[in-house]
Subunit: 199 residues, 2 copies
């Protein structure tokens, strides 16, 4: 396992508290004091870690997104089969969001997290890394002759865009029991589209 310094642990706790409060109230209604109270600390103390409210939000969200991404990346790395890598990637990404309700609610609330144009958003490198992961998984399965050859620039972007849209429109995470089924169905469709014919 990885060793975290005291400082890193504290910063994590702060980001988690911030995510919880921002998820519950949204950026506007959430106050620095809410987050400070969540941590049992004076509000001025937070400015030791962060320049202002906006930066606290962005760093906390970046932390949440990175955790999500890391979890998926590790699961993908543990799976040897190229086609199953793709399935694992999709499933882990879904599973994590089901569990992490704070991150989920923030993604639902904040459409600017995945801007269509990449111009100067704070999460650009995280999103680019997600796209790269998708691209690598696809390339791997294509090399192995499992997926047909697709445009490795356009398709990862498309897949990512569809995924994000599902999250934001809350189709995926409605309270009904259809949520899981819809996800499985969608994954099947995408898999069929990618699979190399005649296998």
């Amino acid at each position: 396992m990885k060793r975290l310094t005291k400082r890193e642990l504290r910063v994590e706790a702060i980001y988690k508290a911030a995510l919880k409060v921002f998820a519950a109230y949204g950026f506007r209604k959430a106050t620095i004091e809410d987050i400070a109270n969540e941590l049992g600390v004076g509000k001025s103390s937070l400015y030791f870690y962060v320049r202002d409210k906006r930066e606290l939000y962005e760093k906390a969200v970046a932390y949440g997104l990175t955790r999500w991404q890391d979890k998926v990346r590790k699961a993908v790395a543990d799976e040897p089969d190229p086609e199953r890598k793709f399935v694992v990637m999709a499933k882990k990404a879904y599973e994590h969001l089901v569990e992490d309700q704070d991150l989920r609610r923030i993604l639902e609330r904040d459409p600017s997290l995945f801007p269509l144009d990449e111009s100067r958003d704070p999460y650009a490198h995280i999103n680019r890394a997600s796209m790269n992961m998708i691209r690598e998984v696809l390339a791997n399965a294509i090399d192995a002759g499992r997926f047909r050859s697709v445009d490795l620039d356009a398709v990862p972007q498309l897949l990512f865009a569809v995924y994000v849209m599902l999250v934001q429109k809350a189709y995926m995470f409605g309270q009904g029991p259809l949520a899981g089924i819809m996800f499985e169905d969608g994954l099947d469709i995408v898999l069929d589209g990618l699979r190399k014919p005649g296998r």
Copy 2:
């Protein structure tokens, strides 16, 4: 059916919007402007209907509680059998809260809605009416020889208090599938306790 004047319809719409916003944000974080926006109206317009924010809250909550109570009362009136009246009362009260998530969230948030002491709270007469309804249903079933004779002052208060506690502690409405089962079980226990032995 009942005919409502334009004015009454407008007032209803305002209370519903208010309940929605207060339920989502709580009294403190909810603003008059939020509610006005929900209605697509300037915030000053609301002061035509209401003296201040607190009064808007109290009237909206009173409206929600009254609707809840009326629904239960009608269902009870439609059921002829004395013992089943009691069952219907409990079930309808439960059902309505499952459906009306705004009212439910407000009850969860605001413990002062059912003060243990009756001294000067705005909902005293509504709560008293609830207690009276319980008392009448009990008296009816006792007269018919279905329930054993119980203290008609203490028991309605107790039942009401238990019910309110369940709501506020959210035992009843947790997200798990146990919610409904727990309610049925609790109702059975109470029914057993009330039923006249030897029937």
